[in-house]
């Protein structure tokens, strides 16, 4: 145990110290001059950057995903038979998602398919709601707020995210439950006699999901709108444009890359969210991520869980790419 700890923390530290020393040496001997990548950064730092980024990309990002993809095409086997003669590539996990059976294709697995499309559909709606909430705010912050106001707004936006997601989700649950403050107020004011089942109607789920990734929408939007020359807005106004026309034909086209990047982030994160659906989902609502979670931890079927997760990932990526294409945006543009 202490050996692995020493490895996990010691190795990177040793690498950093080694390259730091090498960099210091190179700087003193004056090797680090010139125009190319290695000339500019010195051999040590250059090598370190290439290796570190390469290591990061391969071991942290690529390899785990590849392992999951690989696993999703394998049957569920006890550990003793893994790698044995029965461990052959198969589509049975994907078949299970569609037909509810690893062998038969007689009946559709409506429960899971519905959950899947519900997740995608609701994620789209949540993304749109997020955009509707964030756009006016981002526009105000970027174009008309004073520096002092901007600071306050940013603080107000960021501070609530110090509260962790689980606590936030349960707080929503408390707030919206049949004996919660909102129902008490509604009944106290005589607007309703019976408590309203907000959680059963998934109001809590949508609130929680919308709230969870608000920042992912607001900052790309803010960045994009902030780079718009104020004179363009004024010029359009001076030429007689009403406010909605300015937004539709001047601000939105300019902010398109920011909108795309914000929407992509929110959509991906919402579709893959776990805490909010687990805590806030109504009893009749089956969200897709809890199903994936159950494959892993209830059914103890890791290959099936991997297949389900992979289905969600690929569907989301394809959806995003199609939408980007429809809005004539390249992946490169949304990173601007």
């Amino acid at each position: 145990m202490s050996g692995s700890l020493a490895f996990v923390f010691g190795l990177p530290l040793a690498v950093v110290v080694f390259f730091f020393a090498l960099a210091a040496y190179e700087r003193r001997t004056g090797v680090a001059v010139g125009g190319g990548f290695f000339q500019r950064n010195g051999l040590a730092i250059g090598l370190y950057l290439v290796l570190a980024v390469g290591f990061w990309a391969f071991f942290i990002i690529l390899l785990p995903q590849l392992a999951m993809v690989d696993m999703s095409f394998r049957p569920k086997l006890p550990p003793s038979q893994m790698g044995g003669p029965k461990d052959l590539y198969t589509l049975e996990n994907y078949r299970y998602f569609l037909f509810g059976s690893t062998t038969s294709t007689a009946e559709w697995n409506w429960l899971h398919i519905k959950a899947f499309f519900l997740t995608i559909g609701v994620s789209i709606v949540i993304t749109l709601i997020n955009f509707a909430i964030c756009y006016p705010l981002a526009f105000h912050m970027a174009q008309s707020a004073t520096a002092a106001r901007l600071r306050v707004l940013l603080l107000l936006l960021i501070l609530p995210y110090w509260v962790n997601e689980i606590l936030r989700a349960f707080a929503f649950r408390v707030l919206l439950s049949s004996g919660g403050i909102i129902n008490q107020m509604l009944m106290g004011s005589g607007l309703t006699n019976e408590p309203i089942d907000f959680l059963g109607a998934d109001v809590g789920l949508y609130m929680g999901l919308s709230y969870a990734y608000l920042l992912m929408m607001i900052f790309p939007l803010y960045n994009a709108i902030e780079s718009l020359d104020k004179n363009q807005v004024e010029a359009a106004r001076d030429l007689g444009a009403p406010w909605w026309h300015i937004h539709a034909f001047i601000v939105l086209p300019h902010a398109k890359p920011g909108i795309a990047s914000g929407c992509t982030l929110v959509f991906m994160l919402t579709a893959g969210a776990l805490a909010a659906p687990l805590v806030l989902g109504g009893p009749r609502t089956l969200w897709f991520t809890p199903i994936v979670y159950d494959r892993f931890y209830q059914a103890f079927n890791w290959p099936q869980g991997a297949a389900y997760a992979f289905i969600l990932l690929v569907s989301c990526i394809i959806f995003v790419l199609v939408v980007l294409k429809a809005f004539r945006l390249s992946l490169g543009e949304i990173t601007r």
């Binding site: 020359d229 004179n231 010029a235 001076d238 030429l239 007689g240 001047i250 300019h254």
Partner: protein, 359 residues
């Protein structure tokens, strides 16, 4: 016919800062009118007040006789050309020019027709389909003008639109702007800190300083007959000599200065004993024979030979620098730095104005 633009007691304040103070002005239809002043003098604020982006704190703006209070920039018969032009980069040249018509709901064919005519007018007929970024500086300038003219404003407001261009193009655009204004016949209100631009293009000029309109008049009036020391010093080169009035004689007055007793015209009727500034343009300075008592002496610091004139910078007895622009015929040989020259001027070429208290 109602005046194009009237300002009546217009004040604009931002918190404690007074950007425009008591502006009263009438600009006639078809006039090319310039506001000239250093940066921060309030001229851009005044322009934005006329275009409707700023409401005056006090006073009234009338355009075509109608009070503009509460009327936004999108409802005013003005069009503004921004300093950085603010063309829409995601639209083509033709879409830029047609934008104002599009928001007014002008039908497509009518719009296209009009845009085509405007493109011809500003000599960009071949460039309608291009992106704005493919154009040169001068072409962008003309797109901005066409875009503003498309909405047929009765007043065109221009906020230093030439300042981003290089010298050659700037001079070319001056005559082009003037020609466009004559052709379309609407009022142009032009903001600049460049007196050359103001003098060459304008029918009338308002010289502004620290939020106050100091003087309004045609180019000759503000250059030759300034009414305040600021105008005298800001418009063109001018030498200032401080002194106290000792005698008045009709339109002239004599004053006692550290450089001796000098005289000049007294248009603002300064009284004996008053502190005054005597303004003498470099080009009215003349060489005096050495050893005489006329004029005053100075040590030559710098000689700039320009062919037809030579600008000589002198340091006079008070340590102050005085510039004399001497014609080719006045100089037998170029003075050398360090040489002492005696210079003077005819009193009728010099101008007396009251010395501001804060000096």
């Amino acid at each position: 016919m109602a005046a194009a633009v009237e300002l009546e007691g217009v004040n604009v304040t931002f918190g404690d800062f007074v950007a425009v103070k008591e502006a009263n002005l009438t600009i006639e239809p078809g006039e090319f009118f310039s506001f000239l002043g250093p940066s921060g003098c309030g001229k851009t604020t005044l322009l934005r007040t006329i275009s409707g982006f700023i409401e005056p704190t006090r006073g009234q703006v009338r355009i075509g006789g109608a009070d503009m209070k509460g009327i936004g920039p999108n409802k005013r018969p003005t069009a503004l050309i921004f300093q950085n032009l603010a063309l829409f980069p995601m639209m083509t040249v033709a879409e830029n020019i047609g934008y104002g018509l599009r928001v007014r709901g002008v039908p497509r064919h009518e719009r296209d027709e009009k845009v085509k005519n405007l493109l011809i007018q500003v000599a960009l007929a071949e460039h309608g389909h291009k992106k704005v970024s493919e154009l040169s500086g001068g072409q962008k300038q003309r797109v901005a003008i066409a875009r503003a003219l498309a909405v047929e404003p009765s007043v065109l407001l221009l906020d230093e639109p030439l300042s981003a261009l290089d010298l050659k193009l700037r001079q070319h655009m001056r005559s082009e702007l003037r020609a466009i204004q004559k052709r379309v016949g609407i009022t142009f209100i032009y903001i600049t800190h460049d007196q050359g631009e103001a003098l060459t293009m304008s029918d009338r000029i308002a010289v502004m300083n620290a939020g106050v309109i100091e003087q309004v008049g045609d180019g000759r009036a503000v250059y030759a007959e300034p009414r305040t020391p600021f105008v005298a010093a800001f418009v063109g080169e001018n030498n200032q000599i401080r002194g106290r009035i000792t005698a008045r004689d009709g339109a002239m007055a004599t004053l006692e200065t550290p450089l001796g007793t000098l005289a000049g015209r007294n248009p603002v009727a300064l009284d004996v004993g008053q502190e005054a500034l005597l303004f003498v343009r470099p080009e009215v300075m003349q060489l005096r024979a050495n050893g005489t008592t006329a004029g005053f002496e100075g040590e030559t610091l710098d000689v700039a030979y320009e062919g037809s004139v030579t600008h000589v910078t002198l340091r006079v007895r008070t340590g102050q620098k005085v510039i004399a622009s001497l014609g080719a015929s006045a100089l037998a040989a170029l003075p050398t730095p360090g040489e002492t020259l005696r210079i003077g001027f005819r009193p009728e070429d010099a101008l007396l104005l009251a010395r501001p208290e804060r000096h």
